[in-house]
């Protein structure tokens, strides 16, 4: 069975080190927040200017001046900090965050990431902080489906969608597998139960290595 989104999130949460400073991208990666072991003391960063994001507020306790990067209402934990955009992006671009988990449209065999645009021209483009997170974070994890709704591989030899960053991805987590981007190429780390190397290699449009 392929992993559910919650199961992918739980798999990623296992790999987040104790005490890490992390940023979770908008979309699927937000699920990881719920999957983290509270005893690990992981501190969540939000690019609009928070370290120490907490749970969603109780109904009626929403504060319009306390939001996350997705513009949703949040709370902060003990020990949180607020700061301006220059400091926030210094944390991101300057390599101070340990891990970011981003959604992906495509990842290439050399770790290029495409996640901000499908190249559509009928709506205005928008990028936000995706390129800064990709360029600067120590470890860039991508959480996505292994193939598109039409069955096309999302892990490819070279991205066809506009790039977010070149050679930035460390590890890819999908509903079928976990794959590392290494200097030698893509290396299979693990598979979802009931799925094996041959199927995953067939659904990956780039050479796949296994130990």
């Amino acid at each position: 069975m392929p992993r559910t989104n919650e199961e992918i999130a739980a798999r990623i949460a296992e790999d987040i080190p104790t005490g890490a400073y992390i940023n979770l991208g908008i979309g699927l990666p937000v699920l990881i927040g719920d999957a983290l072991d509270p005893d690990k003391g992981v501190i969540l960063h939000s690019e609009n200017g928070v370290l120490g994001l907490g749970a969603a507020p109780a109904p009626g306790a929403e504060d319009p001046e306390l939001i996350n990067a997705a513009k949703g209402y949040v709370t902060v934990n003990r020990g949180a900090a607020f700061f301006d955009q220059c400091e926030s992006f210094a944390m991101m671009r300057g390599g101070h965050l340990d891990v970011t988990v981003l959604g992906g449209l495509q990842v290439s065999a050399s770790g290029d990431l495409a996640n901000w645009s499908t190249g559509e021209t009928h709506r205005p483009p928008a990028v936000g902080g995706a390129m800064d997170l990709a360029a600067g974070t120590k470890r860039v994890y991508v959480m996505m489906k292994h193939v598109t709704r039409e069955g096309a591989p999302k892990i490819v030899g070279g991205c066809t969608y506009p790039l977010t960053g070149v050679g930035v991805v460390t590890r890819i987590y999908t509903d079928l597998a976990t794959i590392d981007v290494t200097p030698a190429g893509l290396r299979l780390v693990d598979c979802a139960p009931g799925h094996g190397f041959e199927e995953i290699a067939r659904k990956t449009d780039a050479p796949l290595l296994i130990d």
């Binding site: 001046e65 939001i67 800064d132």
Partner: protein
């Protein structure tokens, strides 16, 4: 010296057609709603707006697009849910867009404020947003040269000010406000309250030297 104004219209006096205006805020947090309403009423057109987002629904920045006052937007994420008026005007070719990664936007504003001629950043290297820009390899890594982004006017939202123009902010309403306050040639700040005593110097976020005009406006 900071000028304390009685009304938002007074605070905006002198802003004319063709002005480049920075607007603080991220989503709806830290947006100077009172100053934006006064800018709309003041009638200035052909504006260049620098803002992370493009306003939402029928308020603040969105109304400037609806009323066709904006010629160009410089932004990182002009597509927030509900940003219909920017999208409508952009699709009709009535407003130009310069899309900038969010951290590069903040740092270009800071460069203008700090008197720098630009900076090299790894953000966007090798992507469509770096096309046509000068690049350089530094310690084996690719960087893109980005220009400073100055503005005639900065419209800022802060929580409180003292009579010296020192500012403090609240929670995530801080966002772009401190750096834009530094970068505006004329910085106009809307505050929730003005304090009778000076702010503790240890907790001032924006020193009064960056602030030209203050007006109290509580939209909460």
């Amino acid at each position: 010296m900071v000028l304390i104004c009685e009304a938002t219209s007074e605070a905006l006096a002198g802003i004319g057609d063709g002005a480049t205006i920075m607007v603080g805020g991220f989503g709806l947090a830290g947006v100077p709603f009172g100053l934006l309403d006064a800018l709309l009423e003041g009638g200035a057109r052909d504006l260049t707006i620098i803002s992370n987002n493009a306003g939402q629904e029928e308020n603040a920045l969105a109304l400037l697009f609806r009323e066709r006052r904006v010629a160009k937007l410089v932004a990182s994420y002009p597509r927030t849910s509900g940003s219909i008026w920017f999208e409508t005007r952009w699709q009709a070719g009535e407003v130009a867009l310069e899309l900038v990664p969010q951290g590069t936007l903040a740092e270009r504003i800071r460069a203008a404020a700090a008197g720098l001629g630009g900076f090299f950043t790894p953000t966007g290297y090798g992507t469509a947003l770096a096309e046509g820009k000068e690049t350089r390899m530094i310690d084996g890594r690719g960087y893109v040269l980005e220009d400073p982004l100055p503005a005639d006017v900065a419209l800022i939202r802060a929580e409180e000010a003292d009579a010296w123009g020192n500012l403090r902010y609240r929670a995530t309403a801080r966002n772009f406000n401190p750096v834009m306050a530094m970068a505006g040639r004329l910085t106009i700040v809307e505050i929730r309250r003005i304090l009778t005593e000076p702010i503790d110097p240890e907790t001032v976020v924006t020193p009064g030297i960056f602030v030209d005009r203050l007006v109290v406006h509580d939209h909460r």
